[in-house]
Subunit: 174 residues, 6 copies
């Protein structure tokens, strides 16, 4: 069962076409791809409206037809940087390469002697979670920026309504 | 023992006449009222000078003479929004209505199918914890903004002195 | 507002007539009594069937007619003995005497220089949570061992049924 | 995207043919199946030798050819029973039925008004994680009790050797 | 500053002559020795009567005259085996060899590619924390089993009295 | 073994000559000095580049030749102010005086009836962690601001490189 496996992490709030293009591109180089859903525990916030479970569902359906075998797995934020890599590796299948542009993640993986590669780039202005959430709040078009399956999931969970509800708030500011 | 019970949450730093007027107003509609003391674990901070225990004491004495049966119970901040409602309901008597204006709390209760009502309003400029703490720091009058019993509690615990001590700090900024 | 306040802690699974007699006896010596609901976070277990909120409700109703002013406040187990006293004192009104027979609690309070007294005894064979839960499981009489208000609360929450459900289990033993 | 989704939870230490037969049976009744990997955080113990990531990998490969769309998602033990259901539902796609025989899990789901069904039975003497781990320790045959893909994963991670190493210990018993 | 550093871990409840002989023996092979005080957070228990700070003090004074440069550092139990090694290495100076007989610790260090050596043995019947605590409780001789400085520390903190107090208890068994 | 012991806390990111001069000055007044390494769990951040273990090593080597007996012990941030003092005292040898300028720390120690003294001052513009980290990032001179041994430790762990890596980031901002 020895395979070439890679790890790629994002918040996916929501999963969009930029993520999709990175993943299909990485997929060409590996046997299996592990997609880490970062800040998994965050939800019902202006910048993190969707639960980990909802994001898993978005990814699984959006990638239904791609050729590579992939895993979509929640990764909680843990507050201690030096144990983050071993936390990740205990919750994922073994992998030998991590794809990331985040400098802290690069440093942590390299200190743990895991190979880091830069993922391919995509157009960040449009294909960003921030822009998509802004459009949702402004009742502008957003569905063309995400895979169809993601739009379906957001409809099923009434996600735009939730985003609007939690955006007018600083959390538990009684 | 089936009764009409409602839940109302605040930080009560300190408990003031605005809170008092909301509570007496809600009290007319219910058999029992559960007062959640939010951010219970926070204390000795510029915005949260009083312990949960001190806030319980303020509320119990301030409401000694009102007619409704009430509970004053600490509710810690927990960092995971989607479990917050079940955390609250496990630490309070059963209730069927929550009174709150906080959009996140409204969303969470409604997703859990608990009825939410807007509490009656009060004059927020004067009757606010922020204003009272500002006056305490500036040695201005503040006791007319809180029930007498609250002023007594703050005197017993030397609360103004503590507020002044912890206000000149960013917490553990060694 | 300086008053003579005492602290008494139990698990109250459920609150029974033994607890009641201890409390009425302590009540004669103090102005206010703080009743700590220990292991507050435990519930839905064979030895801890009731939530903190349900236990608060039992105590408040059972003591409705006693003369002393009392507080019923949840105290979670925390896993670090040496900070337990300061955890308790931050979540309760100030007190000067603790009533307990537990050797660890005695040691911790005495190291913190808080006076400890032995609470008065009661007949432990009958008036014990263990015996009452055994009777509930065996469909034997138990209501004469608790205040009427406690029996009412347990009926309202369908507590005996829950106890039976969670008793045949080792927790999350998948 | 509204679908009939069910939830099934186990520890899967390791995933074996008993699990496989339950899952193929449930799969006939639903559109999607969420497989919760319980006690996800436990690993490197005599009764829990495999990490959450390794168990995800076992399940994904063992079920590669079944017809139903499934998710394999880690579920950590959390120490507070009453929030367990909302913790699970925040980390999984929405589901309407839970399959379990565990009395505590039944009680918690039913209090949260989620339908519970009994999963179909299988021969528990042979098809049990306990028996398989016993055979691994005793160098007896065990591979016929698990799907081929699971045996491959355990070989890849040198799992039997790890089990032997961690079995002679009470954890961190310095 | 590159030096040969080793790591050795124990609970040291209390530090005794067996520990002393192991440490002086390891000290001959290294430039610096890191002594991890395991289960640091446990104290005021029958098997763990002393705080981390008290154990640090015992070790520092007991080893005052040995030649090697050493560190005595608390290591809390953390409940997740796979991150334990990175937790330890983030809280200690860098080291290249770990001395331990504990099978789990051996496995975890070896998976992290840190060299493990067996520490030299000592007579375990007498030189054991268990035996020393038993003697303390029974008012038998124990001071000849520990370095003089350790006996002094235990006297300063009135440790035998504390041990007796916390031994008659199952912790917070209200 | 009764001695005059004092407690002094800092973050030591990194340990510099300002800290050194404070410590040598306090050292004249006490038998033993406990140096608390605050925010111990923070590392690999722009303002907190070094691990607790690395900071312990800096301090131990920098102070090798001073006359007083000292301890360098990690103190994690804990999020509950009122238990902070008992957390500290459980992880340090007993002490009777704390040296600090932090208003919150002063308040907490004084509420716990521990004597607080102001540590002697030093030139804060140059001798500050902030300034030293700024110089490291700008490739300016910084080694003359720290003890030689600290510069050696930072070289051994390749600390400037790590600081540069983690400075271009907001943590786990996927």
């Amino acid at each position: 069962m020895n395979m070439k496996r890679a790890f790629y992490i994002g918040r996916f709030q929501p999963f969009h076409l930029g993520h999709y293009s990175v993943i299909t591109s990485i997929a060409e180089e590996v046997d299996e791809l592990i997609i880490g859903i970062g800040s998994a525990q965050r939800t019902h916030e202006a910048n993190n409206p969707f639960t980990a479970g909802e994001r898993v569902m978005m990814i699984r359906h959006a990638l239904e037809d791609i050729d590579v075998h992939f895993y979509a797995l929640p990764i909680d934020d843990i507050q201690q940087n030096p144990v983050w890599v071993s936390y990740v590796t205990s919750r994922t299948p073994p992998f030998d390469t991590a794809y990331t542009n985040n400098p802290l993640v690069i440093e942590l993986f390299e200190e743990a002697e895991i190979t880091v590669k830069q993922p391919p780039m995509y157009l960040r202005e449009q294909h960003s979670g921030t822009e998509i959430r802004r459009r949702m709040l402004a009742d502008e078009e957003w569905k063309h920026l995400v895979p169809d399956a993601v739009a379906d999931v957001i409809d099923e969970i009434d996600g735009v309504r939730r985003l609007k509800r939690v955006s007018g708030t600083d959390g538990f500011d009684y």
